[in-house]
Symmetry: D2
């Protein structure tokens, strides 16, 4: 049987915020992607490798944080497996542009995704977005992309729209 | 804003079986794709057009039924929009081959999908498979395919495996 | 801390039917009450003791089966803990009457419940009915009852209504 | 057919907090009990009457707020229907004691409940607690109670435990 390796790097973001019943806060505490999303997917031929490399709301990501993500991506590129990065939506477009500028030529797609509503909530778009990004990882040509709400955007051509609560082509 | 039309043709199959509380039967009675799957997806730029063209377990599909599906697909091709066909898994590979043989050159992808477990049940793979097929409809080149469990197979190269409960490359 | 023991005897019924992805059948195969219902309940002071004593659609329950249930109930009565019996709906009223006639004086409530839709399906009433029966087990006086859809009926005064898909007072 | 009226008064609390996708806040904005809980319950013989009388985190409830709740309860008592009050957990015990002291003799149970986790989140205890409170409303004698996690406590005998994240008997 043929297996396709897929690297997933989680950095936090709304998608991974969890609720604390003692104080009622909703924050990035631990990675829950594997437990809450991946184990509900049927991936009979996918070798999933999940690494939690950061636990941050992307509003508070620094240049140093982005450099750290870049280093992690660089470390996994020699495996020639597609890479999905779970990321907060607020600065996802910025990180995508940065990665594209720094990474140079690629042999695989590097796809960023996240969610408008935490995966721990009813009606979250997390399951949809992650599922789509995993399919895009199978089908997209090498490059850096944002996958969101049934669309795949090349880095540099995409922005978050805070009114429509989704991503759109940059004007 | 740019909208992408997506045609969805439902034919029944396990994915759309519903439970009758009076007699305890699980059968194809009505199309539930829209209510149970599509309305839970966020598709801000997708113009979804859903048509229920058949309500059959694919085990009982006849040559005539396949011809009917072919005619429906032909009718929608002039819209130049990708087409997703919801179909039972037992003869999905056969219908895909038939469509490929009959349709000739295409300008859009025609993607068949379904599920091993009805969408009306917990742990169904319906939501995953439909989500993936909608993303594949955005990304795949023109052709006839089966999309299933994070894989996209060209028609004629794919078969159902009743032991592993998924689709696989045909030997 | 004060703990209240609660005995749960599962006999099968619609509530515990599971789906086989190979052949598409929906049948009583194993007890799933603990995994699918009880582990989702918060019962900080309840000592739950679950025993699977039968795996039957209640349509096919024989007099011998009912005698077996009676013997099991009798075996647990000396613990002075309320007993909940998970049972198919079709002959639940009959089993309740039989138990009441045979058991004689009681020191705890014995409560039968089940569901119109398997717990493995979306929109099942299983979680509601089990939750209600566990609360009734805390509050009801000694006796044999059917708990269903926010009602508690004494054995002998209750019947299934196949049109309204619930239980009702017997005329 | 016999119908039982049940009055539900919602005051807000964790149970009804909703998520704002623009700013990521989790707050009491609107009553969601009917849509998210009650419509998923099967209540064939219950005449449910839901009134949203406040939208507050109970940490911020004032004496005036409690007086307002009291006035609302008094207004519905002449209907001789059980009353369930949806309330934040932090001061639920205080409101229960206040109502008991002020209300005097009762002909129906008045039952307070809520949740440790918002109903809008996965693994919320809201559905369980509301289901239990509706069953308790059927079975409990007249009086003021807190219903929570499969227990029914008389007002004045109960306190929240912030470590075990539930309610317990007051020492």
């Amino acid at each position: 049987m043929l297996f396709l390796k897929l690297i997933v790097l989680t950095t936090g973001g709304t998608i991974e915020k969890t609720y604390d019943e003692s104080d009622g806060s909703l924050e990035n505490r631990e990675t829950i992607l594997e437990k809450e999303v991946c184990k509900r997917l049927r991936l009979p031929t996918t070798q999933l490798e999940i690494h939690s490399i950061m636990k941050k709301d992307s509003l508070y990501m620094t240049d140093e944080d982005r450099h750290h993500i870049l280093q992690e991506v660089r470390g996994y590129l020699p495996l020639h497996a597609p890479i999905v990065i779970i990321h907060g939506t607020d600065t996802m477009a910025k990180t995508a542009e940065y990665l594209q500028a720094q990474l140079g030529p690629l042999s695989v797609p590097v796809i960023l995704t996240g969610a408008m509503r935490p995966v721990s909530m009813q009606d979250s778009d997390a399951f949809q977005n992650v599922t789509e990004s995993f399919m895009a990882a199978r089908l997209a040509p090498p490059g850096v992309y944002i996958s969101f709400h049934n669309q795949l955007f090349p880095a540099g051509r995409v922005q978050k729209n805070k009114d429509t609560l989704t991503f759109e082509w940059k004007k």
